[in-house]
């Protein structure tokens, strides 16, 4: 699974990066690489089964006091 994940990201990299290097669009390269890197880290964490707090539920938790106060 981990191997597949990395392979998939390598393929995306191969597809994305050469044209940017070719056109010397360094800013774009950095931005897209950072996004891709975050994705890669997240994908690796997910495939390793590392528990990640649920995103939207965290937001719900953030709002819970207010929701309770408003009695919704």
């Amino acid at each position: 699974m981990l191997f597949l994940t990395i392979l998939a990201f390598a393929l995306i990299g191969m597809f994305e990066i050469p044209p940017l290097v070719h056109r010397k669009q360094w800013r774009e390269l950095i931005a897209s690489s950072i996004l891709l890197l975050i994705g890669l880290i997240l994908a690796i964490l997910l495939s390793l089964g590392v528990p990640i707090p649920p995103v939207s539920t965290s937001i719900t938790k953030l709002f819970t006091p207010l929701l309770d106060a408003l009695n919704i």
């Binding site: 393929l11 191969m14 597809f15 050469p18 044209p19």
Partner: protein
Amino acid sequence: MRQIQKLIGCVSLCLCLMLIASGCWSRKELDDLGIVAGVGIDEAKSGGTYAMTAQVILPGQVAGGGGGQSGGSQGGSGSAAAVLTSQGDTVFDAIRNYTFHAPRRLYWAHNQIIVIGKDIAKKGIYPVLDIFIRDPELRRTAWVLIAEEKASDILKAKSDLEEIPAMAIRDTMETRQATSQVAAVNLHDFAAMLMSEGTSAVASLISTIEESGKTTHSLSGTAVFKQDKMIGRLDRQQTRGYLWVIGEVESGIISVTCPTDGKKVSLEIVRSSSKIQPRMHGSELEMLVEVSVESNLGGQMCDCDFATIPGVKALSKLQAAAVRTEIESAWKHAASLSADIFEFGTALKRKYPKQWKQLAPNWDTIFPETKLNIKVDSKVRRMGTISAPALPNTRRNTRTGEKMPSE
């Protein structure tokens, strides 16, 4: 360089598509499936658990039998459906326990009927039905039937006219309109009746009968529920009374007695409709049930000539009286069970939402006290292809209407 990139892109896209688009997950090959046509659930002997009987279609047999009459009963037993049994702590458990002995994965999307044994029906049917409503593979259009005895007997019974017995039951449910003496309730309707406050659910009753030495099934009436427990039954006549009220009579034969010589006349119902109007006079509740029925003279056994204005009038009066009797019989029975099968409570809730909130908790005691006001708008329209009985003039009795007992 660019072309190579494009090539790599294309190839990897194709690979991805091969992986995703072919549907690796949840794929179901036909020859690995056992298509369930009907299912029956009883209480297991061991107590507390459920015994399940599933009728599984054997595709090879269906094709062989359907290919031509000459094939007849070819290949082994010649039955196009196999009956498999299983047990489990819950219904779902029982379903999955089939995998211990059934070589095929049972596929439920084509399930047509759910038969529930009387034992379970009396103790409460919802625990059994929940999975059928909840699971996306099962369809809510499956008919819900209550077996007079054990559900497994119903599913084991055969039909001469249909290769797959469950399909035969499904088809009899669909031809019920010819008599309108069977309430047809599918899973969705049943769930809606269960959920609706005050309403008593109903479901068709099915039993086995002997026919030329073989056991086959027959629809025998209507089971009446309170919450999800079966508390009584309506016979076929009462069932039609019930169907008149809820406006689901589509066709059927009304037998009335000829006023002159006491022989029977059959009126064929063409269409009917009904309207329930609750009225509140202070604390007194009145349900106005307006039924309109239209029929044709289907056949007569007497000598009367009804092709006169008074004759037709007499017939329609007799028809109205017959309909009224059926409704009253159903109403009396329902009232004695204090089971609001007619959804009077719902009608009340729609018209008087505020008052309903007060009535609802005591509806069981209020319902039998409700005054029922039946109005039947009865019409006899056509006479078929003859206008008078095919009898010599001398035998015909043309003075039908005048001999009517005055109402």
